[in-house]
């Protein structure tokens, strides 16, 4: 019973700032923007945003997998080092997270712009300016750059904890180094992979600043649309309905990923 009292501050916090706001969002989503009465019209309007929704999910998934492809070898390498080197490299991975997210995105703008650092260097070499910004690639780059540490952290912790004797056992039973990886290391790191994908996908699917700064007018994402509803279109009811839809999709994705890794006991918690 005593332990329960220790959780009281957190419960209070959660109730005030998470549970109640969710109910507020639900209330707004199901009410009329003019009269405030019960209405489903916000949901009827969602259909016209389906392509933006699809694009958001598509770019977030691509970003998550790019993070995996870059992050897995990095985590694997760090986990194979002696503890002291591990601490240093881990610190380096964490370091960009201490910097402002906005600052990092703006720095990319000044790097990638048509008159930016890269293109002006290329210009001096006589190369025509490259279309580095205002496209999907730039958005993915921005997302990957900002969220890569969230991929490396869970992967590193899984790989670092892995029982080295299991690798010896696999080798003993006839596995070549490549087979040791595919048959033991990879399956055992699935919880880390799922957790990393989730931790990148969830913030990426609702991001808005990156797409606005690095994307073209065509790459408007869900986060941007929701922001617009609240700040410029003054339709918080539609914004709430969009948020709710996004939340359901995210929860569904987490559920799917947990199902996928269900063969191995650890669940992903975010």
């Amino acid at each position: 019973m005593k332990n329960r009292r220790l959780a009281a501050p957190y419960l209070l916090w959660m109730t005030l700032f998470t549970v109640i706001p969710i109910f507020v969002v639900v209330y707004f989503a199901f009410s009329d923007s003019i009269t405030g009465g019960f209405s489903l019209e916000n949901f009827a309007a969602l259909g016209s945003y389906s392509h933006i929704m699809a694009k958001s999910i598509y770019l977030a998934l691509i970003s998550a997998f790019v993070c995996l492809i870059i992050g897995y070898p990095a985590a694997y390498y760090i986990a194979s080092l002696p503890p002291k080197a591990q601490r240093w490299l881990y610190l380096l991975i964490m370091l960009p997270m201490c910097m402002s997210f906005l600052l990092k995105t703006l720095s990319w703008v000044s790097l990638l712009e048509d008159t930016g650092i890269i293109n002006s260097l290329l210009g001096k070499l006589g190369v025509e300016p490259l279309p580095l910004i205002r496209n999907n690639g730039a958005v993915v780059l921005g997302i990957v750059y900002n969220f890569l540490p969230y991929m490396i952290m869970p992967l590193f912790s899984v790989l670092e904890k892995m029982d080295k004797r299991l690798l010896e056992a696999a080798s003993d039973l006839g596995c070549s180094p490549l087979q040791v990886f595919t048959k033991v290391i990879l399956p055992l790191s699935v919880p880390g992979i799922v957790s990393g994908l989730t931790m990148v996908f969830v913030p990426a699917v609702s991001t808005f600043y990156i797409s606005r700064k690095l994307g073209s007018p065509g790459t408007v994402l869900m986060g941007d649309v929701i922001e617009t509803q609240f700040k410029t279109a003054y339709n918080p009811n539609l914004g709430a309905a969009l948020s709710l839809l996004l939340m359901v999709i995210v929860l569904f994705c987490i559920f799917l990923m947990n199902k996928f890794s269900g063969s191995y006991k650890e669940e992903v918690t975010i």
């Binding site: 299991l166 010896e168 056992a169 039973l173 006839g174 087979q179 048959k183 006991k265």
Partner: protein, 388 residues
């Protein structure tokens, strides 16, 4: 009839400038049950890991069927290992754990199924196919580990203290089980343990190791009855070890008396260590023709009494079914075959005195006792993982 299978030639192993194994020369015959026995830090696990291919000796050769295999990685050796903590794959069930090695060698599923099913029978785990590893008891995990290694039908099975984590009762059962499996399959077993009883009851050949060196190789009877030095005599069973003087062949002097013995080949007048096993000593009436002493402690052990007798300050352990109360004055009689004479060694004077009886006896019986208490250094044997 017996064919040599594995040979270690002058193997030496250094870790960080410390010698962990020194001049190991050893051969293992086909079909043999060989045990590497010694206290923790003696180099037995290192020796096993060299044979398994997880370590390369600093110098010396590892031969398999006459071929040098020093640089052959583990996965190319026809050797399988039962690891100390089993190292079963947590993401696979019992069946898939056992089938793992066969699937790696790309056997067809029908053949795999036949062999896994048979192996499950051998280790009495039929019906456990779909169990997860974490749903198994220690003994069951241990049997899965044995099955997983045996199903590959290796020429040699390496077992690294496989029974260390089991309770006494289960350990006894598994000892019989392992011996049965070894005889049934005809596979060579190389077994590592610090438990002398386990070594004596299971092995064809026992290799006693200490401080990175082989102290003695022999049959269990040979090791027990004819220990080569004070370390072996003390590590295998209980022994009273007394300073003696070899007067001539078949005659040894200790405690100022001459005793007939069965040993020869020493220089006349050579100082020697004399071993007398506590169960070989007969208690007789105290009279001047016999060695006499005072009983200083008696402990009931079930089958016998552990009786400590003080002979002018040097205390002996006698295991006897006759009860002699503390303080009684008794004589003892020793026949020629109760006395075993050994050359002096670096271990002389360290072992075999029961003056501090209670402490030392407890420690000898405790397999996990701190080896440093014996007065020699412990070597790191398995990196950070340690031995038990």
């Amino acid at each position: 009839m017996t064919k040599e299978l594995v040979r270690l030639k002058d193997c030496r192993m250094d870790f960080d400038g410390q010698t962990v194994l020194d001049s190991i020369n050893l051969y293992i015959n086909d079909n043999e049950f060989l045990t590497l026995l010694g206290p923790s830090g003696c180099g037995k696990t290192t020796t096993l890991r060299i044979i398994g291919g997880f370590l390369q000796p600093t110098s010396g050769d590892v031969l398999f069927d006459g071929e040098r295999i020093n640089d052959l990685p583990p996965y190319k050796r026809n050797v399988n290992t039962v690891f100390q903590n089993y190292a079963l794959f947590p993401h696979l069930d019992v069946y898939d754990n056992i089938a793992f090695g066969l699937r790696v060698s790309k056997l067809d599923e029908e053949e795999i199924d036949r062999r896994v099913t048979k192996m499950l029978e051998t280790v009495s785990l039929t019906g456990f196919e779909d169990r997860k590893i974490n749903q198994l008891s220690g003994g069951q995990q241990q049997r899965v580990a044995i099955a997983r290694a045996l199903v590959k039908e290796p020429s040699v099975l390496l077992l690294d203290e496989p029974l260390g984590a089991l309770d006494l009762r289960l350990r006894k059962d598994m000892q019989n089980e392992l011996k049965r499996i070894q005889q049934q399959t005809g596979i060579t077993f190389i077994y590592v343990t610090h438990d002398q009883e386990e070594a004596l009851s299971m092995s064809d050949t026992v290799v006693v190791m200490d401080r990175g060196r082989i102290q003695q190789i022999g049959t269990p009877e040979n090791i027990y009855n004819e220990p080569e030095n004070a370390f072996v005599a003390d590590f295998i069973g209980e022994s009273n070890i007394i300073d003696g003087l070899m007067l001539k062949d078949y005659l040894v002097r200790f405690f100022g008396r001459d005793f007939e013995c069965l040993d020869k080949g020493f220089d006349p007048g050579e100082p020697v260590d004399v071993v007398i096993r506590p169960e070989d000593i007969d208690i007789v009436e105290p009279d001047p023709t016999h060695l006499c002493g005072t009983v200083s402690s008696v402990t009931f052990k079930g089958v016998h009494y552990d009786t400590i007798v003080d002979f002018n300050g040097f205390k002996w352990l006698i295991q006897t079914t006759d009860f002699c109360p503390v303080g009684s004055y008794i004589g003892i009689s020793l026949g020629p075959d109760d006395i075993h004479v050994m050359k002096k060694s670096e271990y002389s004077g360290i072992f075999g005195d029961y003056s501090s009886y209670s402490a030392e006896y407890e420690e000898i019986n405790d397999p996990d006792a701190d080896p440093e208490a014996h007065g020699y250094e412990e070597y790191g044997e398995y990196g950070e993982a340690g031995e038990t």
